[in-house]
Amino acid sequence: MDGTFSLLMQGFAVAGTPENLMIALIGCFLGTVVGLLPGLGPINGVAILLPIAFAMKLPPESALILLCAVYAGCEYGGRISAILLNVPGDAGAVMTTMDGYPMAKKGLAGPALSMSAVASFCGALVATTGIVLFAPILAEWAIAFGPAEYFVLMVLALCCLGGLVGDSLPKAAIACLVGLLLSTVGIDSNSGVYRYTFDALHLQDGIPFIVIVIGLFAVSEVMLMLQHAHSGVEPMAITGRLMFNMKEFMLAKWTMLRCSLAGFFIGVLPGAGATIASAMCYASERRMAGKDHDFGNGDIRGVAAPEAANNSSANGSLVPMLTLGVPGSGTTAVMIGALTLYNITPGPTLFQEQPVIVWGLIASLFIANVMLLALNIPLIRVFVKFLSIPTWLLVPGVAAISMVGVYAVHGNTFDLILGTVIGGIGYLLRVMNFPIAPFILGFVLGDMMEQNLRRALSISDGEVGVLFASPISIGLWVGALAMLIGPRLFRLIEQRRHAAAEAAGTAG
């Protein structure tokens, strides 16, 4: 415990240098803006900024501080458009529209915004404390993992995400598998064999990660925005008081704390991200409120619950990424990509080999959240101005900045064209409701998965049983299977029960 504290202090020393403080502040501001613009979420923000940070030759810890500040900022920004426009700025803020927009219609936009900012802060603070307490323990435990356990762990991560995202199991499976498949393109590092390069010089080192991420998320978004182009919705004006009062705070305080704690644990689970956490917390708070509530018509607890939950789960999802090197969500997968761009091997040894980076990042989360709270309450009117950027300027701007990001890494036309083509394919896949996060996770984990599988089988001399040998790996297999089937089975039972209840209702 003592050791943790002194390491955390070291982290503050790293994050507290004037340069890194400035970077965190810029990241918070950009993150909030990216978060509040409908269509752009944390994944786009992180994906576009990563190559730019790399090209600016920021040291790895500063680059990660920037990315984490953007990530944290997005979770704050999403609520602004949810409350004022009834359009969630990012996926985690969907539930915030339920009570946030009705509050704004009643002229309570100010209290809704300030309460949700405080709830966001509470969630992030609880979750960051959780990271400090649990991450070192988990990392120490994970060091005992052999290649076989690692392989199964990655199977589990893919199953979790695939099992929870989207409605169709084949679609989620296809997304994972195509991601894994694309990761095999290039020269095989063990044998030097060329795989699926089709004699293209640029494919020898594999498809660059940045090209995939920017193509799939940013370029395809440009086309999706044209499909969903909505116009004529004016943001609600902020009138009256800006702050919530004591009565509202007392009503929401336990809600915030409960949802922060629950959100953290949901976030730690691979696959279950901010969207699921906020939906679950909103539903359970609504149930717990009993009869005496105004949920759905502008209850202050209805904005506090999802905002506390989505921020704490966003921070919680950094735990598996930092301790196991196995990301559980799309955005953390992109961050793993950032580590590999800097030649840092993610995994349980990260805590020992790169304490500066890990603890600097954790400390910067504390700092970033204080900054975000400070930015988001008094400066809220400044951020609201960004909602009036016209789409015709925003979308070409996103396209141009995306291309800058791709160009920043290798500076060749091949990557730009590849990214655009991938973006076109990504658009088709997204219209067909293929989940994209499992795809990115597959692509990021593919190489590690193959290496660990081959290592495990080398140790056992080709005996496949090694994958099922230790109790840990058996436990992980069981978990993977349960995650793949469980959520769908649960939904099916729920539907049956609904159908039965309805049938009983009409009969009676």
Partner: protein, 147 residues
């Protein structure tokens, strides 16, 4: 229907991929698992998933109306041309040429589109190339002017 067609394409891709993977042989090897096992495993699972997708009854794909789809296709071509010209014409000129039609697709009038194009092209160039040290292509024409 779109799911069926896509599943069929994926099935063909996975069979072709396995066919290609047969040729991945290490000239000499020290390990029991060579370079082709993992891709083949993935492709086999992909083939199975593709069949499962084709057998699924429900479809939740909502394509945009033909008119919108046509505009999306044109927008894609604009971005593709942008990617191709990015290095050749330089960032500023290529961006102006991309922004003008793209902004028109999103309902800007000609004046707005032209102003947006010049603003974004020059503004982002100054921001990234000059202020943030992210080198962008200037293109020959600007290089000649700047000397």
């Amino acid at each position: 229907m779109s799911e069926r067609i896509f599943g069929g394409i994926l099935l063909i891709v996975s069979i072709a991929g396995i066919w290609i993977a047969r040729g991945f042989e290490a000239p000499f090897s020290y390990e029991p698992v060579g370079p082709r096992a993992f891709p083949m495993l993935i492709l086999a699972l992909l083939g199975i998933s593709a069949i499962a997708l084709m057998l699924e009854r429900k479809s939740d794909t909502a394509w945009a109306s033909p008119a919108v789809l046509k505009r999306i296709g044109l927008l894609f071509l604009v971005v593709l041309a942008y990617a191709w010209l990015f290095d050749k014409l330089g960032f500023i000129l290529a961006t102006v040429l991309m922004v003008i039609p793209a902004a028109r697709f999103f309902g800007a009038n000609w004046t707005q589109a032209a102003a947006g194009g010049v603003g974004l092209g020059a503004g982002l160039f100054i921001l990234f190339d000059r202020l943030l040290d992210v080198a962008l292509p200037t293109g020959l024409w600007l290089g000649n002017i700047l000397g």
